[in-house]
Symmetry: none
Subunit: 221 residues, 4 copies
Amino acid sequence: MTAVTDMSFTKPIPAYLAQRYMGWRATTFQENRGWYRRLAEEGQRPRAMVISCCDSRVHVISIFGADQGEFFIHRNIANLVPPYEPDGDRHGTSATVEYAVTALRVAHVIVLGHSRCGGVQGCYSMCSGDAPELEEKTSFVGRWMDILRPAYETLPDADEATRLTALEHEAVRVSLRNLMTFPFVREAVEAGTLTLHGLFNDIAEGSLWTLDPPTGAFQPV
Amino acid sequence: MTAVTDMSFTKPIPAYLAQRYMGWRATTFQENRGWYRRLAEEGQRPRAMVISCCDSRVHVISIFGADQGEFFIHRNIANLVPPYEPDGDRHGTSATVEYAVTALRVAHVIVLGHSRCGGVQGCYSMCSGDAPELEEKTSFVGRWMDILRPAYETLPDADEATRLTALEHEAVRVSLRNLMTFPFVREAVEAGTLTLHGLFNDIAEGSLWTLDPPTGAFQPV
Amino acid sequence: MTAVTDMSFTKPIPAYLAQRYMGWRATTFQENRGWYRRLAEEGQRPRAMVISCCDSRVHVISIFGADQGEFFIHRNIANLVPPYEPDGDRHGTSATVEYAVTALRVAHVIVLGHSRCGGVQGCYSMCSGDAPELEEKTSFVGRWMDILRPAYETLPDADEATRLTALEHEAVRVSLRNLMTFPFVREAVEAGTLTLHGLFNDIAEGSLWTLDPPTGAFQPV
Amino acid sequence: MTAVTDMSFTKPIPAYLAQRYMGWRATTFQENRGWYRRLAEEGQRPRAMVISCCDSRVHVISIFGADQGEFFIHRNIANLVPPYEPDGDRHGTSATVEYAVTALRVAHVIVLGHSRCGGVQGCYSMCSGDAPELEEKTSFVGRWMDILRPAYETLPDADEATRLTALEHEAVRVSLRNLMTFPFVREAVEAGTLTLHGLFNDIAEGSLWTLDPPTGAFQPV
């Protein structure tokens, strides 16, 4: 640590977070230090991978009472998985799936959608012509939401709220279908060592819906 | 929701997760339903974005005692941010940064690295010639870790454990530097409306280290 | 600001406070200025209202690690809420409750009592005939503590220390019951958008007690 | 504690606050338990009373780096003090002033105003005829803001933002003048054992302004 690397465009941790960390360290960490040390020394062995949205209101850890070591969690805009494209370019989401399934050999991959999703709302506005800025080549959000674009055409003829929810549901289904385009995912699913699951969290109601395999509809847990 | 879409390659939610969800719903959700409803109706207003690893042992929510609505969280392999490349391709991580900074206008972006990172270990093995499979064009993890590859050349001449930790530290610094290549990040930082922070979590020790801006070294919080 | 208004009965800020403010401004404010500016421009959205005593030893901010924007805080003598009396007179405490519940729509109202409360001690002395000066019409403290006077009759037959603690506990219960006499509080509680909570802080022990809803007793957190 | 008092309209403390309290207890309390115990056993001896707004963005504790035992703090809507009225009715704010000055014998009373005050905004709207609901006899906020009503007539002929700031400044001056109508305040001020101070906090700028005694204007600290 002797080399000096000027990072003066950054700032130290805000004090309120430092204080909260001190509280965690004095309580939760102390209570679990034996287990955490083992997790560090022996490596993680998570049972499931969860793919959820970055949205601050989606709390997979809390909803599932998860503790350190339980879930390998990837969070991106609108919980989307792109199709398999081994073209040598960077694919951050595909890298997480590859690592979870081939290196960690998780038993479950769960795609967790949610209501009031800003990313899905943006996709909807873009597809209905109300957000031309998202059509720009330079819009990272727009280009990312292109993954969901084909689903817009399949939306039911209904009021906007219904169509938005339908598109949020589609974000889960599209990701699950795209997961199956990865050869290592398909092989593990077919070998019975991996199962895929679709879930949907309604934030206002605190309700959780599970994707029904035969019908593809979401049903209350 | 009457249309049928065969999703029979998926499974319903595992029972142990359904049971945990029921526990959350009967307790935490009941205690906070007024607040969660408001968050749903009025939208999120997270104060900070956190970019962390998918690793199941990294618990940013727990360490910072965060509740719903506080943090916009992106998690990927090795908490990496690629440089700004508005080429019209999909860039999932760049989309999360764009959304957090321009739409949500978060006040802080925190890059949280951690010890024993499998992604960084893979990068190290790849760069030292011990993991030819990661050099394959079809390796998503390998191509993703290319973001960190240049940092390998800067590692100190030391034992492997020291060099690995140094590379884990570099993953935080590289991401922070790449964040500054995004025009909207740089503008917000220069306007004083956004601050960037580097943190590092040692899993075994439960310790948290903050990046010291003048020296670029990590110091205990 | 050119008009002159003689305020020469006042003094400028004491130097020791000016110096501390300079410290805050150079540190905490600098670290958080983006967030504080947003709070100023977009308005506050506190999750909870806390009603506590003015006592200098009661530190709700510190105990709950609260930062700017989190709690709407009313502090008065003995954390008392009077009953609903819309008679057109000034009711400062009722105004704070009205503003928190109807304008800010907080999700929680927390009444935080504490040990060694001078106001409760005064009420006890007054009711036991030892403080005739508090019975005077001109005693603001006495007339304010009249809110708690009926509870004195319900105290257990025990030693004084026990009876004082019981009266401090009653101050929390009386306030919570009086809160329910406000129509807008009752409606929000019944609609599930607001929850009421009773807490008690023992200053010497640093302990926190939560009011158990079915029994009305205080139990350690 | 054997008696049962049904308080089932309340709820236990929310878990996120219980967790934060645990963190405080394991850190700040442990570090200071000797001092806190003395404060409990020997009683508080605060140097100053602060009268500030309930607004969640006004952090007197933080701004002045105050620890337990330093400030006796009263917080109400718009940091107002009514005039001396010993009519035998409840006057919560007057009770806090009486207790601080006559029982605790504080050396300073500080009235701390702030920008973007919702209470002052309400008063402004009410006085300009835009908020008839605040004129209702049943409006606690309206009747409380009547304390400030006379100051509306003295506002400069200027744009609304300027007039609002002027009214926020007046809230401090009115409270200070009303403090002097309390005989025990005036006597202590004239005896030199108590000093009164006016301060104003601009939330967005993090700036603090002190009331200049000869001119009555606010000047940067």
